[in-house]
Symmetry: none
Subunit: 211 residues, 2 copies
DNA sequence: CCGTATACTGGACAGATGTCCAGCAAACCG
DNA sequence: CGGTTTGCTGGACATCTGTCCAGTATACGG
């Protein structure tokens, strides 16, 4: 029965979400007021009232900051393990210890809940032609690749990122960098994952020095 | 420098953690008081003070429920609003309506809690030289750019992604694509954000799309 | 044209909340 | 023993905060 929010209400809802995620707690009515430049707390309060009426927000009367965005639990955030280096065996994920995790919501990744997903830190520049750089974090899904997909493949005991191509029904791999051997015949091809997302944090994005 | 908590302080810390996990927000001083059966709010407050002194807890003075347990930020997920298009004014975030949100953890993004962060969907191929593609999601932070940073800049009422460079102390912008005008003199430069991360979901990464 | 919903201004009040001061008691330590 | 830390009582205050009432303006649909 929850109807849709107005544009303005959507903005308020987003601000609440954002504030909670960033500050660790929901905003007060007056913080919302200040953010939107309202002259009265009532402007913010009435928006909250409207959102509550539409079942998009829940409140605890009289309590400070007691806002809960509907479906905020539902916003599922996946913890994707990062494997810095994928050793030969791999089949046993148990023997791996992740190098940390990326957290991302399933919606923006469009990850299937059932899918087995993991991430790898890219080393080398063999895929710069596909705009994948050294240091990038590539999110992979365990499934059969299609023609043109970028995959993590096991070659000679080492894992590398390559583009998966089909020619005359026979699969082969290509490094997206002219400096690298253009084709790699795949005599026994082990595909470890298919790229579904990429995550980059430029090193030169450095902040000015902290005070 | 952070010393160990007392048994009692540990209990308080645990209660704060548990309350936040269960209720979605930290407790008030008086909720702590009630939970432990104290006769005075000061009993709880002094525990918080002690914990803060030991760097195990952080508070925002004067603000309700403004408690943050140290190390709790690990799985904190930020909601970064996506602005599909940045219009001229922009200073007024109020006039914007986000196009949704990306959720990512602060650790992997290395986002400062205080920073104002937003994301933009990249249009066009003016930055392919910097390995930024059409459709990529670029996360930007509101701050002064440094030489070499990639920035979102306002030029002639339109927002584009460019590399920010300094020559003889004068800033100018460069598109990372030979097909584009190489230099753009910046006569009145408005920097809207500095790129701190990139998020890509390849279209061709697609699921079983039949050929 | 009327009614309703949305979006806000302006002012006010009661209770919630952080904070401070002045103690008291027990445990610990040199 | 004396000093310090910890753990608490009791009360008080300023302000933070949710809430309410009254009123204005705009847009939309019947």
């Amino acid at each position: 029965m929850s109807s849709k929010p107005t544009k303005r209400q959507e903005q308020v809802l987003d601000y609440v979400r954002r504030h909670r995620a960033l500050q660790g707690l929901p905003p007060t009515v007056r913080e919302i007021q200040k953010h939107f430049g309202f002259a009265s707390p009532n402007a913010a309060a009435s928006h909250l009232r409207a959102l509550e009426g539409k079942k998009l927000l829940f409140r605890r009367p009289g309590a400070a900051r007691a806002l809960r965005v509907a479906g905020d639990h539902g916003k599922e955030v996946a913890a994707i393990p990062i494997y810095g280096d994928i050793p030969a065996g791999f089949a046993d994920t148990r023997e791996q210890q992740p190098d940390g995790c990326v957290y991302a919501d399933l919606d923006s990744l469009d990850i299937r809940r059932t899918a087995r997903t993991f991430a790898v830190r890219v080393r080398g520049d063999s895929m710069t032609g596909a705009h994948i750089l050294d240091g990038d974090l590539v999110v992979l899904e365990l499934r059969e690749p299609n023609h043109g997909n970028i995959v993590a493949a096991l070659i000679d005991g080492e894992t590398t990122l390559k583009r998966y191509l089909l020619k005359n029904r026979r699969p082969f791999l290509r490094a997206e960098n002219p400096q690298y051997p253009d084709l790699i015949p795949a005599h026994e091809l082990v595909i470890q994952g298919v790229m579904i997302a990429l995550f980059r944090k430029p090193k030169d994005a450095g902040r000015p020095i902290e005070p």
